[in-house]
Every structure is written in C-alpha cells, then in structure tokens.
C-alpha cells in the first residue's frame, strides 16, 4: 500500500519536472542564423526554376556551384592550416616548427596588432602591443630571422595580414638575391576590409587603402604571378557583423571595384583573377554556410564571365580559403567551442573549400595554447579520416533544402550588392552606410539574444554551473624585450643617406598618386621600417605620419 507522498517529495517531483522542462531541447528558431526564414520541409516545387546545367553544373564546371574541381578532395585535399604568431620572430619561429610537427601542412603567420597597422614596435605610446596577438615584424631583418633557412621562392607561406606584408616579403627576397617572379605564398591585400573591420579612417582611409590594394594586386600580378592573393578578405567583414548574404555582397562589391580599377589601368581580368582566393568564414549555421559557399562560387563565376569578360576557366572557378568563425565561439564553458568548431569545419568541407583553419577552443580567452592548437588540427584529421567528409564532391547538392537556400542566399546577396553599388562602394564606406548595416546587424543580434529569440548555449541559456576557465597562454617576455632593443640598435646603425634617398623617392611617387609598391620595396630593402615607409606614404597623401599623432616623421619631405 502506497502512503501519500510527503510534502518534500512533492516539492522534489515538481523541481524535477521543472528542471526537465528547462533542459529539454526545443526548436528555438526557424530562421537561419543570418535571418532567412525556413520551411518545415522542401520539395521539387521549391526549386522549380533551377536548371541543372545553367545554375549548378557538375563539380569543376561552370558556374562551379558544386565545386571548383571535378574530383574535389580526391584530386586535391584541402590544406590543413593552423595560424601561428606571437611575440618576437624567434617565438613565432618556435611556434611554426611545433605546428609542422603536429601535422599542419603549410606555414601560416599572423602579425601582431602593431605590424598589422604598419606601426613600429618601439612606438612610444603603443609599444605594449608589440608581440600581442601575432608576431612583431617591424622591418625586413625581422622577416629574415623568422624565416631563416626557408626559401620564399620554394615554400608556400600564408600571411594573415595586409598592410606592408607583400612589400616586406618581396624586399626580403630581393635582399637574398632571389628571383621574385618565382615567389610562392599568399597574403591578403584587401585594405577596404581593414577600414571596415575597425582599423577605421584614422589608420586606413578608404580612398588610400583601396588604391593601395589595387597597386599591390597590379604589382604582384605583373611581378610575382605565382603569389596568391586572398581577396576579398571577407572573413573580418562577416565577423564584424554581417549575414551570410552580406559576406557575398560586400566581398563582391570590393572585387568589382578592384577589377574595375585594374581594367582602367589596362589590365585584363584573366591576368589577375586566377591568383585570387576568397577568404571566408564558416559560421555557426551549418546549412546556411554550405549554401553560402555554393552561392558564392556561382556569383563569382558569372561576374567574371559576364561582367568582366573572362575567358579563362581559372578566373571563373573560385577557390575558397576558410577560417572557422571566431565570433561564434564563447567564453563561457569554452570546451563547447570544440563542438562548434568541428561542425563549422564540416560545413566548410561540405561546401567545398580549398583550405581550412579550425579555430582553437580557447580563442575567446587567450592566444591559443599549444594544446588547443593541437586539438584544432586533430578535429580536421578526424573529419578527413573518420567522418568521410572528403569522399564525394558537393554531397548535399540536389537536396531541395540546400538548393533553395543557395538560391535564397544568392538573391539576398545580389540585392544588397545592387544597393551598395547604387551608392558607390567607396562612398558607402566613407559615409558610414556599410558600417551602419553592420551596426544594425549586431544590434538586432544582441536584442534577439536578450529576448531569447536566439539561443547561444552557455551565454543566454543552459548556463554552466561551475565552468572552469582553461589555462591562459603565457609568453616569456624576455625575447620581446631583446627584440625591441635589437630593433632600436638596428635603426641607429643604418646608412641614413641611402635610406633618405629611397624615402625621398617614395614620397615623390606616392605624392603623384602612382603605384608606390616598387618605391616602398626599395625603401624596405634599405632597412626602412614599416612605420617609416607607410608613414611616408601617409604624409605624401596629406595625412599625419603617425595616425596616433604621438611621433613626427624623422625625415624631411620635399615641399610639394
């Protein structure tokens, strides 16, 4: 015979029921992460207007929706990348060697925040940032220390940076007596992206930035045709606050503007486009990201052929370099980021990208630790070897849902692109239209988090009870201190008459608004620093030598 439950048992049962209600997984959202509404299911009627030959094509065939290559990962495996960069050149060199031992395929280098803004490591106000979030590389001599024994005409090094990187690498190769027409590797010449991603008008004015991109692409296409150009760098634009469709729209606006200007200089699209790769993200919405990669290849192919008159298939088939989304990773219960990054990496592979860097799970907390970087590499190895992600090209092609979503992302992207080009890209950046679009996206995103219309595990629901934070990356500051000391000594020991003549020449060229890349390279060969060379270009364009206005140029510039 059962006795009636005691009051505390009733309470416990109620607690359990309430708890179960709380933890059960419910559909919290029917729109994609970027906001495209979805249906419960899709069928043939949803893609009635899609024509296989016209809109999809086989993998490796125009318009390349289904992939850039016919055999995809059977013929070319994606490149497993892992970015490294912290502290002095010696610190980063150690990191590169460890990454290679772990199974990273290429050398991938990120620069510190100062070098990324073309500011010297000994800047009186900003020196604390030297070696933060990347490697400090203020002059060619530092590149030589970092890459000692590595031949840049034979080794493929991917540089995750924009300002001054290409001239620095070319200057180093020239100092070593190399033939720069054989230069290997890649960097990301897209300065407009920097302008939008927080460098702001103070560091990279839109007009000068864009002209520098066009100069760099032109110089590279003519002088180092094997060098690859990660352009547009749409990753940061997306991370900053954009939808999947917005990534395509702003990225294509940058591409259209860049190609338009190159053609005006007498170049042909097929001289440049084969060197380009789109730098993309793989964000948290699995199906939407796959659709984005597919839509993007289609938009690119049609633009190259129809708008710019490309006749070379290598220009029309877009290669994608992917870094999984950093913004989607959260600080709370950070081990969950391993799951997020694994799914994002899978989306990138099913979307047919050519290289992937999987974010480390500790990215929201600190510079990646050695262990976190190893796990990011292992994630890709599991996907490649156990999951079967690489077996067959475009495995979701033909899915009613994926095809419809591909069409939807494309349509939204083209509408946004038309709006931006209606204003004019440079104007839309200068007058704040595009930043306004990003602010609007981020604002809505935050409001949806606050109202729980959008759930992020650990952030606004399913909060961890007692999550411990992982160990933080720590770096012995000793090598950085010697690096900055060495930098100052090297500057003091230069042949100033040679450097001064190169700086003068650079000022003149930049003042005439001509392509200043050769003159920048010449000044770097003569041991000019990143801050001096870029500062001279700034001064020649009527800007303060130091964007922080804390130092004056050490050079006397000719009066125009």
């Amino acid at each position: 015979m059962n006795a009636p439950p005691k009051p505390d048992e009733t309470q416990r049962a109620a607690d359990i029921a309430a708890h179960l209600e709380d933890v059960s997984v419910k559909l919290s959202r029917t729109a994609t992460w970027s906001g495209i509404e979805t249906q419960p299911s899709y069928g043939p009627e949803d893609i009635r207007d899609t024509d296989y030959a016209r809109d999809l094509g086989n993998p490796g065939e125009y318009p390349y929706t289904r992939g850039a290559y016919s055999q995809m990962y059977r013929s070319r495996m994606w490149t497993l990348r892992n970015i490294v960069g912290y502290g002095s050149p010696e610190d980063t060199r150690d990191g590169i060697e460890n990454a290679i031992r772990m199974g990273t395929a290429g050398i991938n280098i990120v620069l510190d925040t100062l070098s990324q803004e073309a500011i010297d490591a000994d800047h009186p106000v900003l020196s604390a940032d030297a070696g933060q979030e990347g490697c400090s590389l203020p002059m060619v001599a530092d590149f030589e220390i970092l890459l000692k024994g590595i031949d840049v005409t034979r080794q493929d090094i991917a540089w995750h940076s924009t300002m001054m990187t290409y001239p620095m690498v070319v200057a180093m190769a020239l100092r070593q007596g190399k033939d720069i027409s054989k230069l290997q590797g890649s960097h990301m010449p897209d300065h407009l992206q920097l302008r939008l991603a927080g460098w702001s008008e103070a560091i990279v004015p839109a007009g000068l930035g864009h002209r520098t991109t066009v100069d760099c692409v032109e110089y590279s296409a003519k002088n180092s045709p094997k060098w690859a150009l990660g352009c547009p760098q749409a990753y940061d634009i997306r991370e900053r606050g954009m939808s999947a469709a917005g990534e395509i729209a702003i990225g294509m606006a940058i591409i259209n503007q860049t190609f338009g200007d190159l053609i005006a200089r007498g170049m042909h699209v097929d001289q440049v486009a084969p060197s380009m790769a789109w730098v993309s993200t793989s964000d948290i919405d699995f199906f939407e990201e796959i659709a984005k990669f597919r839509a993007l290849r289609r938009v690119w192919a049609r633009t190259m052929k129809e708008r710019f008159g490309s006749v070379d298939a290598r220009s029309q088939r877009l290669r994608l370099a992917c870094h999984t989304s950093g913004r989607s990773l959260v600080y709370q219960q950070p081990l969950n980021n391993l799951s997020r990054a694994a799914v994002q990496t899978l989306a990138a592979l099913l979307g047919g990208v050519q290289s992937v860097e999987t974010c480390t799970y500790d990215e929201p907390i600190c510079i990646p630790t050695e262990e976190a970087r190893e796990l990011a590499t292992r994630t890709q190895q599991i996907l490649a070897n156990e999951i079967g992600a690489a077996r067959t090209a475009d495995p979701l092609g033909g899915s009613y849902y994926i095809e419809k979503l591909t069409n939807d992302v494309e349509a939204e992207a083209l509408a946004m692109l038309a709006k931006i080009e209606g204003i004019g890209l440079i104007k839309a950046i200068e007058d704040g239209t595009i930043e306004g679009m990003m602010d609007e996206y981020n604002y809505r995103h935050q409001q949806e988090l606050d109202s729980q219309q959008r759930i992020v595990v650990g952030v606004n629901k399913y909060l961890p009870k007692n999550s411990t934070l992982p160990k933080r990356f720590s770096l012995d500051p000793g090598r950085m201190t010697s690096h900055i000391q060495r930098f100052k000594e090297r500057k003091a020991g230069r042949d100033m008459s040679v450097l001064r003549s190169k700086i003068d020449a650079l000022y003149q060229v930049a003042h005439r608004r001509e392509n200043s890349h050769q003159a920048m390279i010449d000044a770097l060969v003569a041991d000019g620093t990143t801050g001096e060379v870029w500062g001279t270009v700034r001064a020649a364009n009527g800007l303060p030598y130091d964007p922080f206005r804390a130092i004056e140029s050490p050079f006397q510039y000719p009066k125009p």
């Binding site: 925040t113 803004e117 604390a128 979030e133 702001s200 907390i365 600190c366 602010d439 981020n442 935050q446």
Partner: protein, 137 residues
C-alpha cells in the same frame, strides 16, 4: 537627480580594432537614455583625457579584446590622476579575464563587465556611480 542625463564616454586605447562590442553598447545605452560620447578605437590616454575634460563626461567606458588591458588601464588611471580627473569612474568591458579583476579593482577600476555581463548590470552601475536616474528617451 532625476532629469539630468548620464554622460558616458566610450573609447578604446591602443591598436585594438575590435570595436564591434563597444559600438553595439553605444546604441543600447542610447536606447536607454544615456548620452554617449563615442570616441571609438585608436585613442591615446592623453587624447582620451582631453576629450573627457572637454565633454565633461560622468563615466568612462573602455573596451578591450587584447591582453594589454592591464597596461593601458593603469596608464590611463595614472594620467587621469595627474590631470585631476580621477574622480570620474572608469568601467571596463570586453574580454576581461576573471583572474585579472582583483588587480583592476586595486588600480581603481569601478566597474568590470566581462563576458556574460548584462545591460541590466551596466545600467545599474551607471545609475549607482552617477547618482542619476535613467529615464527612457
């Protein structure tokens, strides 16, 4: 004091470019009736203090996504004291690691809003340190 607006200066110091969070915060504070003086990224301590004096702000809010926040915050607080404006409370947001909170408090930071902080907490802090009450615009 009711009716007087809270004037909050928002800025970033050093080379940090991650201004997404502080831009969104600026909008969310304006929605709640705060008068935001938005300096954005790439400020020096001297530039920030000049703006603070010129604008007569009630509170300074700084955002950081790079690990140098201890250095930049200490430097700013020392210079604020030298300029005689150390009575203006300073709050921090962004990727502030929990382990660094005691040191930040000790150097004089009044509010720390790292990952997981809510607008409710930030608004309560602003009302508390300024003695002003927010009324929606």
């Amino acid at each position: 004091m009711i009716g007087e607006k809270i004037r909050c200066l928002l800025a970033m110091l050093g080379t940090d470019v991650h201004s997404k969070g502080i831009r969104t915060l600026a909008q969310l504070l304006r929605d709640r009736g705060v008068e935001v003086i938005y300096l954005g990224e790439h400020n020096t301590a001297d530039g920030l203090i000049n703006a603070l004096i010129a604008e007569d702000a009630d509170v300074v809010g700084l955002s950081y996504s790079t690990a140098t926040y201890l250095h930049y915050t200490r430097d700013l607080l020392v210079k604020m004291k030298a300029a005689g404006v150390d009575d203006v409370p300073v709050m921090l947001g962004g990727l502030i690691h929990a382990d660094d909170e005691p040191e930040l408090r000790e150097m004089g930071v009044k509010g720390i809003f790292g990952p997981g902080s809510s607008m409710t907490q930030i608004v309560a802090f602003l009302q508390d340190v300024t003695g002003k009450t927010l009324t929606a615009p």
